[in-house]
Symmetry: C2
Subunit: 264 residues, 2 copies
């Protein structure tokens, strides 16, 4: 028995999210089916991040066990011949027997893409969130800075979230304006359910002048969800990279590569 | 009677191209229907560029005549309420009575997006062309340089093309590598049918080591299509901007904005 790890890229537009569920098509299920057909086994995949419906991934990580003799690095090529074009396995390798994509993850890098202007964009309708209000990225960046470090991010958790420990650390957070686009990049040791989308929605409200510029600082003190803005739409969010122990020495480099578009 | 001009953005994936045709849905038809419903007239649109099936546009320009009293700049907002999300009117204005989007166009800027790597990308499956061969962008840039200037581009015309005069001028041509992506930008006074896609396909062949680095220079001398590479897929191509007389003084600036992603 070997444990094989995969890096998976997907366009989340037409999926109900990563996690397998009844009556809706999840990315997990699509990849499991391809791997099961390939190996003749019943494959169960464990993913690093349970991305929501409509959320994209460039670097989801997942693992499965198999008795198959297919060379580990060939699984990516073989799976891609059986997968729809909006899901791709970009790498496969043999992992340690006890490798667990979620429990062993030490950090994640997300991108949230927004743009402003009077009209929505055809080419980014499923890839970015639209603000009809001009986004003041300098005000957004000042507001964002308050979330860097270790904080109780309880106000950033979607209501109904069941997690007990809501303390997380954000190591890096950066905003980049390119023309109409404002990209938010965050790297943290973990994220609560909807945390990045609430962060992005709050920043869009601040950038559009609908929220005060100190609202994140205030929310981290009051712990009230009401001090924050809307939850931004799923389509703007992309899971860029999951980091494990061996990645940590070059975490800053990986983050900078995401920001500069080298990972895109 | 007023002549109204529009800037139109579209994701060409699900369309048979710009131009109205039987038994297939064209972008022109979709926009004409929205404008006809809006004005109660039978609207006929003239576009600047007859983009192919699958080709995208950020800056298609089109014009129509109307007796409607809708303020010129409101047409964009009104049309967008009736258009599918993969077609957006990004601006509308009153044009001169004799304005003709195609005949008066003085230049066009196109982007062709390619990327390399062992696996195709889910998120760019309809947006860029994939090369399994690593692309040597320095070799591509050297090859590309030969096409700048006034040349007989006959070898770059798709077979079956009926145009007589095949002399065109390319003012600027540039390649930008960002991570896996190589973006080709070209600005010329006009382009033959499939010219940018043949240029891009040839560069991909050169970048992948399948064509000699002087093939464009040679083709412009022999005028033989056989000296060039494949026609690259439609999905990598985007019409970025159509330039008219008033735009010419800042043509270089507009080109640089495309290259730097400020127009994207």
């Amino acid at each position: 028995m070997r444990r094989i790890a995969l890096t998976i890229e997907y366009d989340g537009t037409h999926y109900s999210g990563w996690q397998r569920q009844e009556n809706a098509l999840a990315v997990q299920e699509v990849v499991e089916k391809a791997l099961s057909a390939l190996t003749g086994e019943r494959i169960g995949l464990t993913g690093a991040s349970r991305t929501d419906a409509g959320v994209h991934a460039l670097g989801q990580v997942a693992a499965f066990d198999t008795e198959s003799r297919i060379p580990a690095e060939k699984f990516a090529f073989a799976a891609n011949t059986r997968l729809p074009w909006d899901v791709r396995v970009s790498a496969s390798w043999q992992a340690a027997e006890d490798f667990h994509p979620r429990f062993m993850a030490r950090g994640k890098i997300y991108r949230y893409r927004m743009y402003d202007g009077p009209h929505a964009m055809a080419l980014y309708r499923d890839r970015a969130a639209h603000s009809i209000y001009p986004l003041d990225e300098a005000a957004m960046a000042r507001c964002l800075a308050a979330c860097v470090g270790e904080h109780d991010f309880a106000p950033f958790a979607a209501s109904g979230s069941v997690v007990k420990d809501t303390v997380r650390t954000i190591y890096r957070a950066q905003l980049i304006r390119t023309g109409r686009f404002v990209d938010l990049f965050v790297y943290g040791n973990g994220f609560l359910y909807n945390m990045v989308r609430i962060l992005a929605g709050t920043l869009m409200d601040v950038g559009g002048g609908k929220q005060s510029g100190d609202c994140i600082e205030r929310a981290l003190s009051t712990l009230s969800r009401l001090d924050l803005g809307v939850t931004a739409p799923a389509c703007g969010l992309t899971l860029m990279r999951v980091l494990y122990d061996p990645d940590l020495p070059r975490a800053d480099e990986l983050f900078d590569q995401c920001v500069s578009g080298v990972i895109a």
